[in-house]
Each structure stands twice: as structure tokens, then as C-alpha cells.
């Protein structure tokens, strides 16, 4: 059974300039204990998809349609009569069964509270633990994420920690209630490479220990290759391709996925071949093209691509892409 099922999720933002169609018709599933990577450029809708699922959209964001099933329960906004009911429900889920790790370890933690307060609070909110028990568990979590001398450090404030250590604290906070799903939004982007390696290793070990499923939002294909079982590629608010790590890296089908893989330097190549950048820039989601979002940058674009949204083609049960080239109706190219 799948842990998380997202069907036809569409999210828009009402701004002064018009309506931004941030997430358009996104569907995917996640099994228990699985790691799914969501890859895309800034503005491709990868973070907003996750915020829509968790009910954390900014005030001007609206989930227009779509159904989200988590752990057997329908948690879409439309399943609740009032906003209050929805938010009350989400509050019991977030931080409990579903936890989040944010990108910027500098702004996530409250600077005027001790680490102890920030770790103990979610435990006391979501479980019946007493303060002493919660503190015991907090120390255990700090040990788990590799923070040396936790008894001393739990009394400290966030500014006394380095970036990598703060990210560990955030991971510890996410783990407090043994979540079934951890959503990590660019967890290592703000960190240095050697620290990134430590944190990735930590996430990988922890999810094996706790059997939590992980959704990893990132733009770094190297991080995806290291950690993920399956990969979803987003572009212009659309999920354009999804498959196992091997499908995406060794047998990409969508021209955007192919382009993305070609424009990163592979240091394993001895001769430095020139990179193949994707010309142009992503579409404006205030008025996205009627057809495929990638049409303006695609070398193989056809007339149909401009006018009609490509349907999903299934290559296997796991591997799907949204492109007219793969459609059985398309002429051989």
C-alpha cells in the first residue's frame, strides 16, 4: 500500500500581476520507507507541491483541485468542510507522522530559545511524555544525529552551533515523533561539500534505521543519485518524468531530463567535453504555454507540442513521462 498518494494536484497563487499556476496537475505515489527525489529548477513548483500537501501554502496560495491520501486518510483541503477543521487535522499530522527538514538551517530555529525547548516542545505536544521523559528522548535524538556532548549542547542557543550542526538539530526535531514521512527541502544546499556528505550519510542511515519514507527536494542531481530510489523531474509546474533512479539517469525519456543530464560536468570524464546547456529560460507561470511547458527550449518540439498538453506515456509500471515524442500517436523520429 502506498504511504502517500497525490492525484492531479493543482495549486495557484493570486498575486498583483495575476494568477501564478505554480503546480499543475501533479500526480505521484510513495511507498513506505522509500526515498523519492524531486528535481527541478527554481520556480518549477517542486517546493510548492510539498507545501500544498502539508497545508503550508502562503496566504495567497490556493489548492484548486486534487486529492492527497496519506497513510490511508484523505488529507486534501476539499475533504474538510471548513478551513479550521483542515488546519486542526494538519496540525496533528505535521511534526508527528509527517515532518519537514528545511533548506536554511539559519532561519528555521528560533534564535531566542534553547535547543532543549525546541526539541522538547514537539514531543510534549504530540505525545503524553512528561518534560523529563521528553528531555531524555531529546538527548537520545541528539546522540542519534551525531552531536557531541549533547548534555552540554542542549542548553545552548542556535547561534552557538555551526551550519552543519544546526542542520543536525533540525533533523533531530524532524525525527522526534518517528515520522512515517520526512520531507526534506534542499537540506544540504546551504552546506559545504564535506558537511553535505556528513548530513546525506546521516539522512541515509536514519531512514534505514527508522524506515521512514523520504521526499528529497533538490536541484542537485548528484545528491539524488546518491540517496534516491525513485526520481521525479518537475518543469514549469508540471511533473514531466518519473521513474527509478536507473530509469532517469540511464534511460531518460523526456528531452528536459536528457538536457539536464547533459549540462552538468561529469568529473569522471577525462577529456572535458563542452557542456550542452539548455538554451533559453523557464516559462513564465503567470501565463504558461497551452502545450508542453518545455516547448520553447526543446530541440525536438513539434507543432502539436505548442498547442496541446502531452499525455502521460508509461514505459513501465514505474517509469512515466509527459512528452509527445513518446506518444504512440507520434510519428517515428
Amino acid at each position: 500500500m502506498s504511504l502517500l498518494k497525490v492525484e492531479d494536484l493543482t495549486t495557484v497563487f493570486h498575486t498583483d500581476q495575476g494568477t501564478v499556476q505554480a503546480v499543475r496537475d501533479v500526480s505521484f505515489e510513495l511507498k513506505e520507507g522509500e526515498v523519492l527525489g524531486i528535481v527541478g529548477e527554481s520556480g518549477s513548483g517542486k517546493s510548492q507541491t510539498m507545501y500544498s500537501i502539508m497545508g503550508l501554502l502562503a496566504d495567497n496560495g490556493v489548492v484548486e483541485s486534487g486529492k492527497v491520501t496519506f497513510d490511508g486518510e484523505d488529507i486534501s483541503r476539499s475533504a474538510f468542510a471548513t478551513k479550521k477543521e483542515y488546519e486542526d487535522k494538519m496540525r496533528t499530522i505535521r511534526g508527528n507522522k509527517m515532518a519537514m527538514i528545511f533548506q536554511d538551517p539559519m532561519t528555521f530555529l528560533n534564535p531566542v530559545l534553547r535547543i532543549e525547548t525546541q526539541l522538547v516542545e514537539p514531543l510534549m505536544n504530540h505525545t503524553n511524555m512528561s518534560r523529563a521523559e521528553a528531555k531524555e528522548r531529546a538527548l537520545e535524538l541528539m546522540r542519534m544525529v551525531g552531536i557531541p556532548s549533547p548534555e552540554k549542547r542542549i542548553r545552548q542557543y542556535p547561534f552557538e552551533f555551526s551550519g552543519g550542526m544546526r542542520q543536525r538539530i533540525i533533523i533531530a526535531i524532524a525525527l522526534t515523533c518517528n515520522p512515517k514521512l520526512i520531507i526534506a527541502d534542499e537540506p544540504t544546499t546551504a552546506l559545504d561539500v564535506t558537511i553535505q556528505a556528513q548530513v546525506l550519510e546521516l539522512i541515509d542511515n536514519l531512514r534505514k534505521e527508522t524506515n521512514s519514507a523520504v521526499i528529497l527536494i533538490t536541484h542537485d542531481l548528484g545528491v539524488v543519485a546518491k540517496l534516491c530510489d525513485r526520481v521525479a523531474i518537475m518543469y514549469g509546474g508540471k511533473l514531466v518524468e518519473i521513474g527509478t533512479d536507473k530509469d532517469i539517469f540511464y534511460d531518460p525519456q523526456h528531452p528536459y531530463t536528457k538536457g539536464l543530464l547533459e549540462c552538468i560536468a561529469n568529473p569522471e570524464d577525462d577529456e572535458d567535453k563542452p557542456l550542452h546547456p539548455i538554451a533559453g529560460s523557464p516559462p513564465d507561470l503567470l501565463s504558461p504555454p497551452a502545450g508542453c511547458p518545455f516547448v520553447d527550449r526543446c530541440e525536438k518540439a513539434m507543432r502539436v507540442c505548442k498547442q496541446y498538453m502531452p499525455p502521460v506515456t508509461e514505459f513501465s509500471e514505474e517509469h512515466k513521462a509527459r512528452c509527445w515524442l513518446q506518444d504512440p500517436r507520434a510519428k517515428e523520429v
Partner: protein
């Protein structure tokens, strides 16, 4: 082949910052760049890699004379520029330009693209008439892949990648011989990074400009550079031809840094054994007495914590580590 000409030579450069708080506190000095020597050949790219706080940006900024060095020499085109002032400094600034990391902060939001690119030409009195300068701006816009009618627009109307192109056009306006690129791609999306890298490579081929390319993304640095220097805590711990350094790292820090790069190939990435470094970079305020890397080095001996290793040549490479002493 003709003798390769050294365009930039840095000898035992030190840049310190005084961060003493209050007049009665003990003196605290950040040794951001500590005894660095390097050479950049004409028309080549020297890549500088290292983690945040290792001093790579400070080194770049000291070379373009944005910071005063504490001691040491910088030779540009054979001339000692470590203590030049006034007219000489202005002439030097015409030869050496800089491209910055943040394309949002490095362009004046109240100037049009044309004014931004024209300004260095006005300052350095290149061309006599405004019309000539305007023509040159149009030409530069074409070189960096923008349209001539972008000249009257403001930076806010452009995306990150396009802004970085404007920054490159501004650097090229004075026909420099040398450009310091300080993390020019790290604020950009993956598909845009490749565009900027290719642009920089093409410009180098056509105009024979040398680059000092500062970045933390080792894959990209290896791609664009001829030589690489690896920095740690204010020191260049290893330097040499890019492919050699990548293929056969000598210094333990280089090995650890390379093994930490995420490779975008699931079979390699999942099988790859990382050298996971314990701990974090020590503070440059009280750097370790011996080798800067000794506190995290898996191969450190007692001697490393006492003595500072001198740079030694190993084949084509310079490395500061006792492991390679004869």
C-alpha cells in the same frame, strides 16, 4: 611551443583582518589568507576550490586590490602591484576585472543595463564620444548573448542568468587581461550554469583572457580549469594540473573533498566509499599551530600538530604535507 608567460604571480601573500572587540580585549586576528603562493599563465584558467571560510574569496579580492595584503608580493604582467596607488592602481584596475557571485546584488538597480556596462568605459576614458561607447555596449551585449534592445532596461527585468551575463559584459567593457570570477555560477540553476560556463570559455578562447575561477563546485572547476589550487583555512594545500589533482589527489584534504562530491550516476554514487571527515573547519581566528588540516586529518601524526609542512613539489604538483617528504 613558445615559453608560457606568467600573467599573475602571487608570493607568500597574507591577508589578515583585525576582529578585536573592544579596546581592552586581547588582539584577535583572522588569518584569512596565510602564506599563499600561486602562478597563473596567460590565457589559462586557474581554479580555486575550497569550503566556505577557507579564504578563497579573500584571496581573489586581495589580488584585485580590494583588500590590502598584510605581507607578500603580487606580480601582474611582471610588475609588482602589491603596493601601487593612484594612477598606477587605476591602470591596473583596467587590466583586471571581477565577476561577482550574486547577480542580484552586484548590479545597481537604478541604472539601466547600458549605463552599467558603459560606466567602466567612462571611468577609464575609453573612446572619446558617447556614441562610440554606446556602440561598444551593443557589441558587448551581443557577445554575452543578450539583445541590443536590452540596453534601456533595468536589472530587475532580467533573470539570474541574464544578470550574470550583464556582469560579464561590464567586466569585458575595459578589455581586461585578467578576470577574477568569484563563484559566478553558484547562484544559478543547473541548466543556466552550463550556459554561463560555455560563455566564459568562448570569451577566453576569443580574447585570450586569463581567469582566476573561484568556486566550491569541484566538478565545474575541474571542467573549466587548467590548473587547480585547493584551499583550506587560508592555505593552498595542493595545486597542480586540473586532471592530475582530480585523478590522483595527494593531500588528504583533497582526497576527502573529492570523495565528498556527489556524482550524478546512481551506480557510482551508491557504491562510492566516502572519506567522511570528522568535525568542521577550525576557526581562522586561532588556527592550529601545525598543519591547518591536522585536526580533521585521518592520517595526522603528532608532528603534524606541531610543525607546519612546507610546500614541496611532487611531479607536476605542489603539496603541503609531511606524507610526501623524502
Amino acid at each position: 611551443m613558445a615559453e608560457e608567460k606568467v600573467i599573475l604571480k602571487v608570493e607568500n601573500l597574507k591577508t589578515y583582518f583585525d576582529v578585536t572587540k573592544g579596546i581592552f580585549s586581547p588582539k584577535q586576528i583572522v588569518k584569512a589568507v596565510d602564506d599563499v603562493s600561486l602562478e597563473v599563465l596567460e590565457g589559462e584558467t586557474f581554479g580555486l576550490v575550497g569550503e566556505s571560510g577557507c579564504g578563497k574569496s579573500t584571496l581573489g579580492r586581495t589580488i584585485v586590490k580590494l583588500y590590502e595584503p598584510e605581507s607578500g608580493k603580487i606580480y601582474f604582467d611582471g610588475k609588482d602591484i602589491s603596493s601601487i596607488h593612484g594612477a598606477e592602481l587605476k591602470a591596473f584596475r583596467k587590466d583586471v576585472q571581477m565577476i561577482f557571485q550574486d547577480p542580484y546584488a552586484s548590479l545597481n538597480p537604478r541604472m539601466t543595463v547600458g549605463e552599467i556596462i558603459k560606466e567602466p568605459m567612462v571611468i577609464h576614458k575609453i573612446f572619446d564620444t558617447d556614441q562610440e561607447r554606446e556602440d561598444r555596449v551593443v557589441e558587448l551585449l551581443k557577445i554575452v548573448g543578450l539583445k541590443p534592445d536590452h540596453i534601456r532596461r533595468y536589472p530587475s527585468e532580467f533573470s539570474g542568468g541574464q544578470r550574470q551575463r550583464i556582469g560579464i559584459a561590464r567586466a569585458l567593457a575595459v578589455n581586461p587581461k585578467f578576470i577574477v570570477c568569484d563563484e559566478p555560477i553558484s547562484a544559478l540553476d543547473v541548466s543556466i550554469q552550463a550556459q554561463i560556463i560555455n560563455l566564459l570559455e568562448n570569451i577566453q578562447k576569443e580574447m585570450k583572457i586569463s581567469y582566476l575561477f573561484i568556486a566550491h563546485d569541484i566538478s565545474m572547476v575541474k571542467h573549466i580549469s587548467d590548473h587547480i589550487g585547493v584551499m583550506y583555512l587560508g592555505h593552498i594545500v595542493e595545486s597542480g594540473p586540473a586532471a592530475d589533482v582530480y585523478r590522483r589527489p595527494l593531500h588528504p584534504y583533497t582526497s576527502a573533498l573529492l570523495s565528498a562530491i556527489p556524482i550524478s550516476d546512481p551506480n557510482i554514487a551508491k557504491a562510492k566509499q566516502r572519506i567522511i571527515l570528522e568535525g568542521e573547519i577550525p576557526s581562522p581566528i586561532n588556527p592550529p599551530a601545525g598543519c591547518p588540516f591536522a585536526t580533521r586529518c585521518p592520517k595526522a601524526t603528532e608532528r603534524c600538530t606541531r610543525e607546519k609542512p612546507e610546500p614541496i613539489m611532487v611531479g607536476t604538483r605542489q603539496v603541503s604535507c609531511f606524507l610526501y617528504e623524502k
